[in-house]
Symmetry: D2
């Protein structure tokens, strides 16, 4: 990788390129960098973000300036990112790299303090979140993905068995392109409301009784999970496009059951 | 997960669904199953494939029949798959699941026996391969991805330094949708021909001298790698659509340099 | 990495080393190579093994001969490995590398064809297996690890709840040093016999009813699982040392419950 | 998983166990929890730690109290951990779980702001750090592991080639048991001083020239790397036991070169 700042050294990647092929994305990938993320309640979480930062390159330009991507993140230190200002980072990247298009993907763990359903004891649960900002021909699109761990309980197993029902941890992934800002917490809450049961860090015994019975009372096929979530996402006018997927890590198999719905509002 | 064969038991997932939402993909994911893959030279490799198998589900149907996906793979035992007959597996899946659309993704390690460039000593090199077959509204599309490990050597580092040049392992990923069959080996050969150097399992000392000097003589930016490969893919009329990406695991950073080109022929 | 065969080139790594520090392990790691593995019934599985191959290096020797490790695997082609002959591979490695000690670790997926408990339908289940052979000061030790996916059902959840009980997929890992040969299949069978339920690829509906009720009838804490397995391993005089661990991917949490017992016979 | 606080519910896991087998480790694994870590300069990094927390269980006790492990981390909120006070967390775990032995393993990404060698430009580099605290029969042992990414350049390739030398990113892992406190930053600095070159986030062009030539001037076999580091660790009387390993992700192969030295002071 290389940088272009030093004029004294020959600018190898600034030369014109004879192949005349545009590059849609060029930049840095799998970069771990400290960032501050601000949530709905103005609270800030310090995260070790996994960052991919790309710009487009026109056919006649030989190479981009890799070190500038990191300088942009370095200058971001002390200024928290949120769903409200993420676009500015993409705009700045495009301008600093003198590119037409820019794309930034950041992925980070996210913690929410939850209260156990009966005892009310607090503990953190961890989620995976991805933000993507895409600036293409002056059109800006922002994407948010949340990966939410939940319990799924199989209606068929419950129905056909004298007692019991197989259940397991599932990973529900909701991806949206939004017209108006949507907070991470909002999307997570939608998923948790539709699961056979939501998860918690600490569960005291009355809590464990509660979630066991709640899941048994709310069996869902993987198809039900994605349909019920699609119904909710369809009703939210802030969402332009969405997909919802559930991967159930079946407790009776060594593979997953999976379903996916994509839609537009 | 559940199955529908036994008529004596209530068919929970066969009931009509009141939500009226179609599901684009439902099935099994992250299933590891033994498969036989046949290459260009009629040789067969036994692989532990990672399989995702999906069908579409119309709005009025409550659920699919998960166990049938595995039965299809079970019946495949003893019959090698190749780029020539992969489509039959997707057709059979659609028919057996009584679905309109079907999609199968299989991923497996692939070995090629290579001769070292000077000594001629043989050894295996491993690649990652993905096949995707998509049947949607009676249109069939087949996709092939190869992930090829190569050496990349930085032209800027070579140019600005008195001696030496940083180099590293890179992972070049070529994805194609093809009109006519293309063999795994063909696509790998294209990538290896364009790298600063290709890799080998065994390198005797004269081989190591050869690849070191060859890489120094063939420096390439990540941008060069994807452009040179795009040029080659553009010329192949069997290819309808392609993307080529290179991730260079930079030896002077703890992140990757990355470039991606997408195109249509 | 480098090789020592070519006498015409300067033997850099053959020089005496002034630091006088012995190296316990030097060699190749994360090498993927095709191998044939023979099971108890003389059947052969072709695997893409992940191989680590090391020898010791005395204080006065500067470096080892890396390419020889791969030549040993290359020469193994066509000769299946088994628990009976694995030692020969380690002996050959020690001799070819002119070392005192040698250590080889190979890890591979392993398939067993199983019949569903009621319908009798056949399908493959996948396991992860590791073999380690250690030759140290002329003492040879062989280790076998199997990672077995099973169902665990929580006795507390069952006991305190009016109905239902949380259950999930667990990964049980048994490691042994054996005095006499023990087959992969034997160790897997021991684990599956002690689980709340074993897993299957294909389960028809009567099978699903069976495993659901069986698991509900055989609840086990993570502590029970490792204790019941330890009891079985204690009784097997072929086993010199063992450890047994269970990681339960809790369906009501986003973390695992875990227990480990180590012992000697 | 389950908890024991609620006396109104039957205490299933508190019953005496008839198998009379002690469990060395039982607890929670793969728990992601927010923690604050304090470095040598009193600065605090907020991390998403991956936590394993175990206690021993005597033969006669049926089960442990899983939810207490998380309560201990919950109570830790707001109180930064450091190499100086980590022991308290293990002591508290043992006491709260009423156990004889306790073991806590936490793993987290760690950032250090570094200045580029010529331009002096600042950027963060990321490392992986693991702390382990073991309390066994009233003996306390603390372990620290740092995984440091560096450049390695092959002396053989340099020696036998007319020009160039293959180099690559390596991952050097140093594990220590220490008698007196050692800071994360100290151990990282030792590794970076011995590499062919250390890594940086941002490198301007004069910096890239510098690191390219520096690496060419400091070629090291994987054996050299671990020996030079072992020499340094031997001289540090604060260290009781150590191991040092280097995994070089060879740029001319698709596997790693690896060496490991273990020692006691």
């Amino acid at each position: 990788m290389r940088d272009c700042a030093a004029e004294l050294l020959e600018d190898v990647q600034g030369r014109a390129d004879p192949r005349a092929i545009a590059i849609q994305r060029v930049g840095v990938k799998a970069l771990r960098y400290p960032l501050q993320i601000q949530d709905r309640d103005q609270k800030i979480q310090q995260v070790a973000a996994l960052c991919n930062m790309y710009v487009s390159l026109p056919p006649e330009v030989k190479g981009t300036h890799m070190s500038r991507f990191l300088q942009i993140l370095e200058e971001q230190q002390g200024n928290p990112l949120s769903v409200l200002n993420f676009q500015e980072l993409i705009l700045r990247t495009r301008d600093r790299l003198e590119a037409r298009d820019a794309r930034i993907e950041i992925q980070f763990p996210w913690f929410i303090s939850k209260k156990a359903p009966v005892s009310g004891v607090s503990s953190y649960l961890d989620y995976e979140v991805e933000w993507v900002g895409i600036l293409q021909e002056d059109q800006y699109v922002q994407e948010l993905t949340v990966h939410v761990p939940v319990t799924s309980l199989c209606p068929c197993s419950k129905s056909i068995s004298e007692y019991g029902a197989h259940n397991q941890r599932s990973r529900v992934s909701v991806w949206i392109q939004n017209r108006k800002p949507i907070w991470i917490e909002e999307l997570i809450a939608v998923v948790e409301a539709e699961a056979s049961s939501q998860l918690y860090g600490i569960l005291k015994r009355p809590d464990e009784k509660f979630v066991t019975e709640y899941a048994y009372d709310h069996p869902k096929f993987v198809e039900d999970m994605v349909r019920d979530l699609a119904l909710r996402l369809q009703r939210d006018s802030r969402i332009a496009r969405y997909s919802v997927a559930s991967e159930n890590f079946e407790s009776i198999h060594n593979h997953s059951a999976y379903a996916l719905i994509e839609g537009e509002n």
